[in-house]
Amino acid sequence: MGSNQTVQGRLNQPGASSHKNRNRILTAVTLVIFVVFLFLADQGIILDSYGVRIIRLCGVYTIAALSMTLINGLTGQFSLGQAGFMAIGAYTTSLLIIPPEVKEQMYYVTPIQGWVRDMQAPFLAAILIGGLLAALIAFLIGFPVLRLRGDYLAIATLGFSEIIRVIITNVGSVTNSSIGIKSIPDTANIWWTTIAAALCITLVYRLMKTSYGRAFKSIRDDEVAAEAMGISLFKHKMLSFVISGFLAGLSGGLLASVVGVINPLYFRFTLAYEILLIVVLGGQGSITGTLVSACLITAGKEWLRFLDSGFSIGPITIPEISGLRMLVFSALLMVVILFYRRGLFGSNEFSWDGLFRLIQRTGARCKRLIRRGEKGGAAK
């Protein structure tokens, strides 16, 4: 089938093969530059530890947003439960990687249970267990919840994520209740998060190329038609929901290791809103859009930190206002949804051809504008 497509492609476009080679080279060059950049960043040559932390968070948020893109954008099931799954992943991972004696000291209000104190796993196993546990919970939640549609599904998943949070707050002997967990080992360095994000992107991208992925998209576009074509709605929704839960759990585990301190308040519904902002900005249903937007939002959130600590525009000095930064982001969400509903990528994926077309089109538009400007000037 692959060769058939190539033949057709050649027939349609004479220069297709040279484009393909060019695109491959461009991709390879970009990847090499990126890896070199990561290496230099990791060595502390071009970025300080703060910059490195931002890059690490970009990876984490990419995975979290990917989890929402898969279920919301690609399968069309509007789920807002990401924060709960991330909480499960974060708690599981941190309890597995903190040494027993450190855990024992931390639980000073409610004594820690024996098995929680003694459980240990290497980091890779810990994040995977966190992801799998989140996937298992997603599987259990999926049975009742996936029978709902649209906004009912949204509020039910949001409700489950709150239930998870309330349980975490109340089971003090396991989760240290509202005090939370601190001194989580800083294992997830820049390589961990970036490689994990890359693997997750590949996983979702490959998945969407399989018959399962096509079934997801057909469910998103028209459930009735999909069912008529013999697609089991429940099975595919469940698969998408479970994988989405796994990704969210994984990102939660990495997040715990990057930030070092977690508590139940961290995993409020506002976290789900933040992820929703990433997905909406990137374009619902675009994997590359999710990646770009996750990095933009995460970096932007750090870059706009100055808004919270007071700044001056020329003669005007704006005093310290905490929360201004998040106001900007919530306004951004409103602007995107009201005026630019497609987001950055819509439901398309990034391609070099697309980029070149965009550059050409923008160039042509600029030329036209300039010409019009000249004409206007001449007329006067």
Binding site: D151, I155, A156, I163, N170, G323, S330, L333, M334, I337
Partner: protein, 303 residues
Amino acid sequence: MNVLIPSMEQFVQGIANALSLGSLYSLVAIGYTMVYGILRLINFAHGEVFMMAMYFVFYVTTLFQAPWYIAFIAGIVGIALLGIVIERAAYKPLRNAPRISVLISAIGVSYLLQNLAVVCFSGIPKQFPSVPLFQDVIIVGGVHIQRMVIIVPIITAILVAALLYLVNHTKMGIAMRAASRDFDTSRLMGINVNRVISITFCIGSLLAAVGAIMWGLKYPKIEPYVGVMPGLKCFIAAVLGGIGSIGGAVIGAFLLGFIEIMLVLFLPGLSGYKDAFAFVLLIIILLVKPTGLLGDKAGVDKA
């Protein structure tokens, strides 16, 4: 889990508290149910309208030294206007967009108002003004209760009766009911649908503001996230009663209020799970009887 048998006095007090909590819930739940009935939209921002009402009253009393009744009226009017503004700015432009976009817009408004509250009013909790007329403790048959425990259900009953009259016996009410069935046909019948929607938001927000004021008298701590939990719970109450039905919202709200208070009264060990319980209830209803207790099919068909 130990079951605690409360004394008779505690039980009566519990019933009184459940009645007033149910009344508060029903004022907010009506807003959800009316908006859902017309736009098929879960108005996520309703909880934030509730929160804004509390801040509004707080600032009118502290900044202008206004007496409580003026502050209450100003708050209610201001919040009714806020409801209209939200609808015009965030929902009207998306009238022909996919429903999920409108839902995201509603989430966006909710998020925006929360952050706006953090910026404008700061995250430090504020104290809702106290009004002795409502908060004095009186003794009825050996039970100590705040006066508002009796006043709140009365106010709610009056407002619900007025609303039911409006919906069932006035021209505006007929227009509302028509619009909730079918926009296009309503337009053909000469109904200004946009106006009907604005008025629906106005009434919903107005009732939420009354609910918020009563809530503030009972639980005087105001912070930017104060509206979230009551908001979600009242939505659950509306679903429980049958979304789209005003009577259903009131019944659902009272039921939820009773269950919550009784749960804490009889099983105090579970009181930490109080908030989770409402969601469990929601999921059970959606699975067993998605139309709720009084709901008609029209409300759920398109969901």
